[in-house]
Symmetry: D2
Subunit: 381 residues, 4 copies
């Protein structure tokens, strides 16, 4: 079962929310999955020496760096895990690629397609393994949904709808910028809910239902000005607080997507539903261990949406965990991504989504923002 | 479609909550069901002449009586519908039977088995059609549940559990006795939740799963004294506020039943669940148009409880109503019972549950109360 | 309680699904509501003499007509209830207005704004009472939602989203045109899901959240050709099978609306959700007796969506029905509209939505279809 | 934040399902909680040398033992974690106590009260810290429920009901005894669902609602004989497949409890509900991150069960994890127990439930089994 593993030395850039989620995944993976590598938390990197040392102590990183360039230059690092704000992805990823490191980059790949494209070219030129952390693909219920569609169980797909609703920025007193709040700062984030939340919806949608052809979008910034924590001044808010768009897939399906941080009662409610000729599927991040499935082939008098508790050993990834009925949580999606990354790496392949695949999502995001700006339908590049 | 119908003249005794529910059923049935009789609201009867006239006006009864004996004696009445407190069932039913009337009696049949038995003998001796209004049998989702079990879809039944939870008597200021409150007066009602609520649960259980063999029960009266509206004095409360019991069915299934009027957050939450070797079923009166169904034969990765919206034309009684997706409500169960009663009557038969069938439920209630009093298992007579 | 009532003589045009729903409402209203008129089912009208007589027999109409012009001309008719396909609304309504009748017209008011405007002018010129049957307003949970917003409980409204999902036209074998299928025939219906289903969503939205300013829409006709039952030939399908649109309300709220008849697993699933600064509300026609309510002012550790079982006497319309916990169904919304119509009529007023108010919904529908055709944002006229 | 920690050396006995759950907890705790000790996985112990070495490799135990006596004798072990079948708890715990080790024992404490009492005396005589892994107490939603009751929010408690339903032993082909199946072997387990599942329900109930005074129970063994994996022969099944009991709490509340492994559609569905004068609470292990809460003090027209997504930083244990809306899973309850154990240990205290506290649950189990055998109410010793 547990064959001797080759070490894979990880260099982590960033120690925020995602730094924790990824570190946990690196630490846990071999306890639950028989993967071909043993990840080693070799170094954590961030500008604040005190804070990064505390982070390293808490997670067991063997060393720290305060300059990502030094981290990238270290010979003893095999893979760079990028967990910093979006505006830093490009520079770090390009340097890491040049240094021949494997790269795991937080989503979205970058602030926009132009940046993302440079990153794709860099990793492809360097021939390094790469992936983007669209972790929700690896929620077992979502993977199961993907599999059901891929097997043709839904038949022709008519409709796709996805929402990502939050309510944490409704207060006008919330500042923009700085730790935990860079998502409200357009310079750091690139966009608001579009890149942060809709990117997840779009990645899942493309993965399951294929390319999106065109979009018509609207965006809104409800709170026009917020204090900036870095400048201390009240500044214009540059991000989109809310975004909704109509879309057409290449396969003919219609779609609506919506995201906002102004939907009271929704903490992180990412939902999607897919309607096909023969069956439908629905999922909700707030109960991520469940999948709703309607099979029109069921006998009519006892036909209904099946509420599937995705916790059995024959369901994606679940054999590794507990027993039927015992649910997993949010963080497990990252463990799954690490497991898949390590499996693929042993075969010299990148785990999906690669930088190139993740770029498709950012192209849609760019089309969405362009459509919102122009008031017209925009074809995805 | 609508063949000429023979009139069936109804004499209603009582004008309370059930008087309204039954009157509505008599009035509506021919609009939706092609039944062989046209019910005619011939007379309403109650002691208060003013109130019964108002009731007759509101529902279209052609005449009123203030003495049920006169009503029973009228030649132009075909069927007596008994909607008065339990302590009056026996006398009225026996007189109506002697007068050769069809009898429809509100549940429970009587305050206890002894009374109920006399009623059974009276209708059987007189050879009159009879039924007891255990209306929940005719909620389409419940009838569907019955059918699924009868078809053997669940296989061997292991477990039955039913609850009927309410919260309307928690306040100690609520008096006992009188209009709308006779259910708290043991003389009028015979018992508390056992005869009022558990009787429904037991009727459904016997109907679907066969006879109950033995029980072990406990009861409680949380509020020991309440003002009596008839005497004006604070008097001992004689009813059971809550009752729970273990049971064994003749088919080997184990059961638990519980009812209370002290369950905050539950208005009229009658629920049951049946677990069989191959499938399970669950239902809830608060969403009476839905049935939950788990079929173990479903493919394992997409197996889950099916949430069936019972509103299609091929589901019990639903062809008569609207279109799929449009739900019916509480009162429809009474319309269904009237429709079935009229269909059976045209064939000279009583619609189930007959007095004799309904007596089985009261026998279980008596066993439950006896067990609670003795602290021992009691075999159902 | 039940004061002597003045008769109000109803002339019904049409005997289809809506003819039944309305007839039931007229018959039931005085049993449950103390309204100032006694509706009398005076005459039913339809071209097929045999069928209309059967309908009249089933519902108790005193007479029949086979030409709506004769019905409109009858002196003994006070109100005309229009339950025929949309293409007939204009002509009948204008004639009825000229004849001085009260008019109750099924929704949508007409196939388009131009027709609807003529109808508005006719009733306004004639000074006759008028209303359009947007019945879902009178589902108690929906009325409660309206009241909560009107009381300012949600604060500033950020988002509105509504779906009306069905799945009954997925089969390409389903023909268009004729009884029950005129909704697929663009000549009779005017449009597909936009006028049939989205009209409901839009009416509710305007009623609760005020005027819609502009829209961006897409429509699709998945099945391009269907056999026409009237011609017997396979003909082009002219209706929209699916429609989705983005919208902006005048109050600044963003909205998405979607309707389709190709969403497997949804029979008649009309849902809406409203997100305000302080609270949110959600509702679903498949469980129409429930309202979901999230109140941000609730103490944080016990804050959650409240699942309200709208069946108490202090909730809209419910005092008239049963007791807490006992749900009503679809048809009750029509009874409520009749009750409100009669109350308003006694005061010489039209019940909302009047023709003029209902025209606003059709204006939005027209803008939606224009936007789908042009691919541009369209301002509501 | 992360103060230098003292090591706490763990010796694990057993490597089955619970061995994994506990190991994960020991490994993760310092990543998420700022506890005063650093657990060190010092040694894993089991009879099979190959398997225990594989287990040690997978979880990072520094050494292995094949005789628990040797493990207990090791000077470098601070705490013994007992994860073996129930029949071994007594001997190991007594030896560990004599050796002065802290002891963490899987639930139930033992096969019966007599064994458990010896264990209590041993740890109390030795003065060693001790706890029993009733992990569900530390599910945040359950802890929140406990807190709400402790704060008096529910007022007087009228009703408690709990179920633990499974369906994994319905097949008669499933053998008894051996790895993973010792729970079906009465010699190893002591009892069936009573000690395995109801023990959880009882522990939670006592913790939240105080002592249970008396019980009336029934048990059933549906499959009378199963092949024994150790003997290879078909042998009588000695465990209870199902058990239900009525109970009275010392505080006057009535209760029903039920557990079975024959409830189709339920994988590990532990549910409880508590009804108090002012509020009610309900919880379900299949959605363990949610708590249902009904507060009667809410304004009546918007009163309903609140569906609380327990994932905010002000809810029990959740500050340590992710952000609002991101759920945790089953395994986290063990991490919480380790965190609490370490906090208490630093203060020289045992974390609840201690052996002595856990013994109360086993006393109730014994009373339940005695009642089922005698058919009488039994007072809890």
């Amino acid at each position: 079962m547990s064959t001797p593993k080759k070490n894979l030395n990880i260099g982590m850039v960033g120690y925020g929310f995602m730094g924790r989620a990824h570190s946990n995944a690196w630490r846990k993976v071999t306890n639950f999955f028989d993967v071909p590598y043993q990840p080693v938390l070799k170094a954590a990197c961030a500008r604040d020496a005190v804070k990064v040392q505390a982070f390293a102590d808490q997670w067991g990183y063997a060393s720290v760096e305060t300059d990502w360039r030094k981290l990238v230059a270290r010979r003893d690092i095999d893979a760079i895990d990028i967990c910093v704000p979006n505006d830093l992805h490009l520079e770090i990823a390009v340097a890491a690629a040049k240094a021949g490191k494997m790269i795991l980059c937080e989503k979205p790949i970058a602030r926009n397609t132009a940046e993302g494209l440079k990153m794709c070219k860099a990793v492809e030129k360097a021939g390094v393994l790469n992936t983007v952390w669209y972790n929700y693909r690896r929620v077992p219920a979502v993977t199961l949904a993907k599999n059901l569609v891929a097997e043709g169980r839904l038949g022709k797909i008519f409709h796709y709808r996805a929402n990502f609703l939050q309510d944490w920025t409704i207060s006008p007193d919330l500042p923009q910028g700085g730790t935990g709040l860079w998502r409200l700062d357009v310079k750091a984030a690139g966009s608001g809910v579009t890149g942060d939340l809709l990117a997840h919806c779009i990645d899942t949608a493309i993965w399951i239902n294929g390319p999106i052809k065109s979009v018509s979008a609207m965006t809104e910034t409800f709170i026009k000005q917020r204090k900036h924590t870095l400048t201390g001044k009240v500044e214009k808010v540059g991000i989109d607080d809310a975004c909704a768009f109509l879309a057409r897939f290449e396969n003919g399906a219609l779609a609506i997507f919506e995201s906002t941080r102004y939907a009271r009662g929704h903490k992180a409610e990412y939902t999607f539903e897919i309607n096909g000729e023969n069956a439908s599927i629905a999922w909700n991040l707030h109960d991520l261990h469940r999948l709703q499935y309607f099979n029109h082939a069921d006998e009519s008098i006892v036909r209904g949406w099946r509420n599937i508790h995705v916790s059995d050993g024959d369901q994606p990834y679940m054999k590794a965990w507990w027993v039927p009925g015992l649910q997993i949580g949010y963080e497990h999606s990252f463990v799954h991504q690490v497991a898949d990354f390590l499996e693929a790496a042993a075969q010299g392949k990148s785990a999906s989504p690669t930088f190139r695949e993740a770029l498709e999502t950012t192209k849609v995001c760019d089309a969405v923002l362009a459509s919102a700006a122009s008031g017209r339908w925009v074809t995805v590049a």
